[in-house]
């Protein structure tokens, strides 16, 4: 145990105690701040070219209240620098919903039926994201009519266009994909590189013979994995810290009078905070997926490194690992864009892709919490089985200097490992 602790400490210090680590982290911190504040930065250069200038609303008023449309128009535009909501009254008998959806000149259609004390309002909207604001304003107006009497909450019905697709759902998945997968991919790649290079450095210099003469191969193997996962955790926490730092910078942006940005829209974090109110659970599960997933990739990287003899050799051996990683990366990034919910749900249960796909699927609502936990358990079981079967292979491969062809070497190492185990 003492040697294991020493090896873990040594491996960790070798990574975090270097000048390269500090330089890399400075770069990551700067990039994080820039990426997370990208919306604000873009606005600095004059974005919002496609911003709406007005919203045309038709009102079919069957309440018998003549001033309703004028009152609503005043209410809606209250406090706005320019008239944004343009309301027009139409006859209830002339309402043609099908024609409204086709008509590009009108954005929203209200129908008021019932009585002033018991109104029923139906909202046909091409911009459903504005419905909440509009219904609040209507309700306030109706309250003012009902003053003196008992207040009756109006009934609101909202109708969406038949071909309506929620742009926020895509935005959520898109944002989550890039925000979760990219750092995860970078972290796992860094960790696997570290563990691989570390092992191959000891092996190619033959120092491994002296090391394995003092420490059991399985302890050496596990110490490499553990020190790398600690590195990932430290690096992950630092990235989170940079995220918080970036968020603080975003607040500074928001409070700047020169920008006049609405709070909550100034950064990707703020945006996601609005879209993902359950982010603490999501973050916790994502961390677990990252840790278990990284452990799996580290185990595979360590095995491939143990089979390689030289640095050049390792480049060839790590190709399958990089393909696995890239597979998960592309599924996580592109499946949400292609609306591949079913595909993502299945891939979230495939252990080699789950670390990248499952957190995105969970955040996007494609996986339930229960399914995510099942996917995590599957991953943990797969990891345990992988460690169980690959540790004997590491013990054989780490002192084997055969330079036969790729598949032959893998086959020979497995054969020797299990021959030895049987003995």
């Amino acid at each position: 145990m003492k040697k294991f602790k020493f090896l873990v400490k040594y491996g960790l210090l070798k990574r975090v105690g270097r000048k390269a680590f500090f330089i890399t982290n400075i770069v990551i911190a700067i990039l994080s701040i820039l990426i997370i504040n990208l919306p604000s930065i873009i606005r600095l250069f004059g974005g919002n070219d496609d911003q709406m200038t007005d919203l045309t609303i038709e009102v079919a008023n069957d309440l018998g209240l003549a001033t309703l449309v004028d009152d609503l128009e005043l209410k809606f535009n209250e406090g706005l620098p320019a008239k944004f909501f343009l309301l027009t009254e139409i006859q209830p008998s002339s309402v043609n919903v099908a024609a409204f959806w086709e008509n590009t000149d009108v954005d929203v259609l209200f129908t008021f039926t019932g009585t002033i004390d018991d109104p029923i309002i139906t909202i046909y909207s091409k911009y459903p994201e504005m419905n909440a604001g509009l219904t609040n304003q209507i309700e306030l107006q109706l309250i003012s009519y009902q003053l003196g009497g008992a207040y009756e909450r109006p009934v609101f019905n909202t109708v969406l266009a038949p071909d309506y697709e929620d742009p926020e759902a895509g935005a959520i998945l898109g944002s989550i994909s890039s925000l979760l997968i990219l750092p995860l991919f970078i972290l796992v790649t860094m960790a696997t590189q570290f563990v691989g290079v570390d092992i191959i450095e000891e092996k190619s210099t033959k120092a491994i013979e002296t090391i394995i003469a003092s420490v059991p191969a399985n302890i050496h193997f596990l110490s490499k994995i553990v020190s790398s996962i600690f590195f990932v955790i430290i690096q992950g926490c630092l990235i989170l810290f940079y995220g918080v730092l970036a968020s603080l910078v975003a607040r500074l942006f928001a409070s700047s009078p020169a920008l006049n940005l609405p709070v909550g829209q100034e950064s990707l974090l703020g945006y996601l905070g609005e879209l993902l109110p359950n982010w603490p659970i999501l973050l916790f599960l994502t961390m677990l997926f990252i840790i278990v997933g990284t452990l799996f990739y580290l185990v595979v990287a360590a095995i491939f490194a143990s089979m390689a003899v030289t640095q050049e050799d390792y480049q060839q051996f790590q190709s399958p690992l990089m393909l696995m990683l890239l597979g998960g990366f592309y599924i996580g990034i592109f499946a949400p864009m292609a609306n591949g919910d079913g595909f993502m749900r299945v891939m979230a249960f495939v252990p080699i892709f789950a670390p990248m796909v499952a957190p995105v699927a969970l955040a996007g609502g494609i996986l339930t919490y229960f399914q995510a936990v099942v996917a995590l358990v599957v991953m943990i079981l797969f990891l345990v089985i992988t460690v169980y079967f690959l540790t004997p292979v590491y013990k054989v491969a780490i002192l084997n200097y055969d330079q036969t062809k790729f598949f032959k070497r893998i086959k020979d190492n497995f054969k020797k490992a299990f021959q030895k185990t049987k003995k």
Binding site: E202, A207, T210, I211, S214
Partner: protein
């Protein structure tokens, strides 16, 4: 005491070591010789517990060699096995702590050994900046930093000049005096001959020579007679039991099969004039090695 008992190591169908047995007692220096691929490194790996013998066993003080007693063993492998990107000090701290040593003790001993090997200035230099000879010294220090009771040295003199070789020999002798067991391999048979009491020669995993060096030489009947004087080489060649006559600049070396041939050569030399030298010497270890390994090859 180190006991290798009937150890056999198979790699698939290949017999790397075939029923090897020997014992090393405290204070012994034991040589393990053989051509390349004879099974020396496999034997060392079995001693170190890096390989488990297919048959037989290796015992160190009555126990199987394992990670519970590895801290008492020093191991130097044939090739350079140093992490080249770190400094001498960092390397020793790394290897020493893997032997459960305290950093303070490691640094104290490192200073002593660097001083003894006259490389104290290299303590904070990266290994890759050192010459091959100095790297060899560092590797040797890494094997002895834990004051081992069993020292396993695979080709310790490889790449060393005669002065540094002598330095290594002195240190090994010091360990011997302290009661350490030393087992080593070398292609430089003169070193084996000069300071090793007992040896085994392996060829394709099999033992072809074993025992104390003086006995091995005695058992090897062939001898060399060195003569200076007016002798007829052609006559010498016709004497029964003489199998080779080598004419050097200042002397003639007559290689003979046995003691009887020595008597016959002596009878002839007595008849010659101006004889200033007549020495009968046992064959050198190198000759025994070449003769025995050659025979083993012929058998194969």
């Amino acid at each position: 005491m180190l006991e290798v008992k009937n150890a056999r190591m198979l790699y698939g169908d290949l017999v790397a070591v075939d029923h090897l047995s020997f014992t090393i007692k405290p204070g012994d220096i034991f040589g393990l010789l053989g051509t390349n691929g004879a099974g020396k490194t496999t034997t060392f790996r079995m001693i170190m517990g890096l390989l488990e013998p297919t048959e037989g066993e290796v015992l160190y003080n009555g126990q199987h060699v394992g990670y519970h007693n590895v801290n008492e063993i020093g191991y130097m492998i044939e090739e350079r096995s140093l992490l080249t990107k770190i400094t001498v000090k960092e390397l020793m701290l790394y290897f020493g702590q893997l032997k459960d040593m305290e950093p303070k003790v490691i640094l104290e001993r490192l200073d002593y050994w660097l001083d003894r090997f006259s490389i104290a200035d290299y303590k904070n230099k990266k290994i890759k900046e050192l010459s091959k000879g100095n790297q060899q010294k560092i590797q040797f220090i890494s094997a002895i930093i834990n004051n081992p009771k069993l020292l396993v040295l695979d080709e310790p003199f490889s790449g060393l000049d005669p002065i540094n070789t002598e330095l290594f020999v002195e240190v090994i002798r010091d360990f011997q005096k302290q009661g350490a067991m030393v087992v080593f391999s070398s292609h430089q048979l003169d070193h084996v001959e000069s300071f090793c009491e007992e040896l085994i020669v392996l060829e394709k995993g099999k033992v072809i020579i074993e025992g104390r060096i003086d006995q091995v030489k005695k058992d090897f009947k062939k001898q060399n007679i060195k003569i200076k004087g007016d002798v007829d080489v052609q006559v010498l060649k016709t004497i029964p039991g003489v199998f080779q006559v080598v004419e050097n600049v200042d002397q003639i070396i007559v290689k003979i099969e046995n003691d009887d041939a020595a008597s016959r050569v002596f009878d002839y030399v007595k008849t010659c004039k101006n004889i200033t030298k007549y020495d009968v010497e046992q064959a050198s270890l190198s000759e025994i090695f070449i003769a025995k390994v050659g025979q083993a090859h012929e058998k194969v």
